[in-house]
Symmetry: C2
Subunit: 146 residues, 2 copies
DNA sequence: GCTTGACTTTGAGCATACTCCAAGTAGTAC
DNA sequence: GTACTACTTGGAGTATGCTCAAAGTCAAGC
């Protein structure tokens, strides 16, 4: 993963470059700016957007939150607090902590489903080895087997 | 969690009961039937839907797939294969295996983000202990700290 | 000066997954 | 027979998160 920051220049001078560095499309970056998820970006004299390295890093962090289930609106709220400065630190702490708990519950859910799927895969393999052994009508993890 | 099947009667005689047993709303159950995600349910003489225990268990399994990121369309496809019988077992095996891999990648992503968030939470605690120590402009996990 | 390409803004359109509503029916309670 | 409740169908509307298109600007190359 890119916890590294080495691939990012100090100044990113175009939206296409920003798109490449974040994995977003240009349209999505403009959309995020429009809905206030990203602040109005600096423009060069010709009107084109430019970004600092820190802004790109900020977007990458946002995308982590998004990839782990946070909505754009929640992210927008979090960033609004960030812009308000250190007086909101404790509220931001609470929000991040809550999201971390959410992630923990998500992981638990995913692992449970992996157990169920693995059970079914094993069952499928048994069916493939000795077919129509319909005698034991396999009952359990959330489903009747087939 | 309910890996148990004990709370489900052999026959579920109304959509409201089915909703309660699956956690879906009645509207969502009807919607799933409409788009072909669920088969056309048996009706009682008065036209009301009824479900077997196995059908409820089937829905619960579906909801696991959904909760772990499978789309309704993918689920619909999987169920279509199930209806086609044992000749599709190997294809279903492949699909479930792929979904299991997908879940593994999701878990990894969630855990990475937990690491980043925990880093940030630690940083917030340090800021709270000795404020405006802006000397070390903390660099890393995906963001400039504040 | 004209074309090309990378950008700009604004607004409309789209995919997914519901969610709600209107109008009607069937069975029970009184 | 009237009211009430739980259902039915079909269609329309909504929220989220993009995605695309039209029309225009600006700078560089020829």
């Amino acid at each position: 993963m890119d916890i590294t920051t080495q691939d990012i220049p100090e100044t990113v001078t175009s939206i296409s470059q920003a798109a490449e560095l974040t994995g977003l499309t240009e349209d999505t970056i403009r959309y995020y700016e429009r809905i206030g998820l990203l602040p109005y970006a600096d423009r060069k004299p010709n009107g084109h957007r430019q970004y600092s390295k820190d802004q790109i890093l900020g977007i990458r962090f946002l995308l982590r939150l998004k990839a782990t289930g946070m909505t754009l609106e929640e992210m927008r709220h979090y960033l609004e607090l960030t812009r308000q400065g250190d007086s909101t630190l404790s509220e931001r702490y609470t929000l991040l902590e809550a999201h971390n708990d959410y992630i923990a519950r998500e992981i638990a859910k995913l692992q449970e489903t992996q157990d169920v799927i693995r059970y079914k895969l094993r069952h499928f393999r048994e069916l493939a080895e000795n077919p129509n052994t319909d005698a034991y009508d396999c009952e359990v993890p959330g489903d009747s087997g087939r």
